[in-house]
Subunit: 107 residues, 2 copies
DNA sequence: TCACAGGTTCGATGATCATCGAACTCGTGC
DNA sequence: GCACGAGTTCGATGATCATCGAACCTGTGA
């Protein structure tokens, strides 16, 4: 791969259609992941801190669904993989959606 | 049944938890139903006008899911059953959620 | 170089849910 | 009363998807 890839290009990803976004957060496990991400500083959390009581492979599957819908992105901090909630990107495309959902979670 | 039931009591129904609401609108068929309801005058539409290409029983199942989540309510107009989108009730509990989703549907 | 920890991918299994047809209910009108 | 149209309920079937274990990849640090 070329070493000319700027960091920004990696981060740029499309937020999927509403349908896809809704299905992504309609799952209890994934919704909990989003909740923890939203509560974290910088919206960033180590993968293993996003779940409990499920297997690694299951968690990884949910990460993928969240990422493909554009809700989260993968990034590396000191070599460790992390997940980051793309709050502003989602907010631009669907204003108020995520905020309202997150707000409703810690009622 | 007693004839003392005021009309208001029938209409009063709780909007379900976010989880339930999200799952309700995450389905393609139900999302289309919501879209048609939102576009209709008075947010009210005859049941048969909310779908095509699926059986009556399937449609009725989706009506039930929407109703139980608090998104819609059943009402009778000249003897004919109708569905009504409870836009304001949902908006009170989850501000901006439905509006944003509906807005995104007719992009 | 090797071992190890943390995520990912791959198939297979199981549960959940959308779909359907048939029987039932409720209103309307003949 | 009966027939009819429109929704609902009920079981059964099928597809979708969450879950898991095992193998694989990719860093880090002996």
């Amino acid at each position: 791969m070329p070493d000319t890839t700027p960091e920004e290009l990696v981060a740029v990803a499309e937020v999927g259609p509403v349908q896809e976004v809704l299905q992504a957060i309609a799952d209890p496990v994934r919704l909990e992941m989003v909740r923890r991400l939203a509560a974290a500083p910088d919206l960033t959390v180590r993968c293993s801190a996003l779940y409990d009581d499920i297997g690694k492979s299951t968690a990884s599957h949910h990460f993928k669904v969240l990422r493909e819908s554009g809700l989260t992105e993968r990034l590396s901090i000191e070599g460790q993989p992390h997940q980051r909630l793309r709050l502003s990107a989602v907010g631009e495309r669907y204003p108020g959606l995520l905020d309202t959902v997150i707000q409703a979670l810690d009622d």
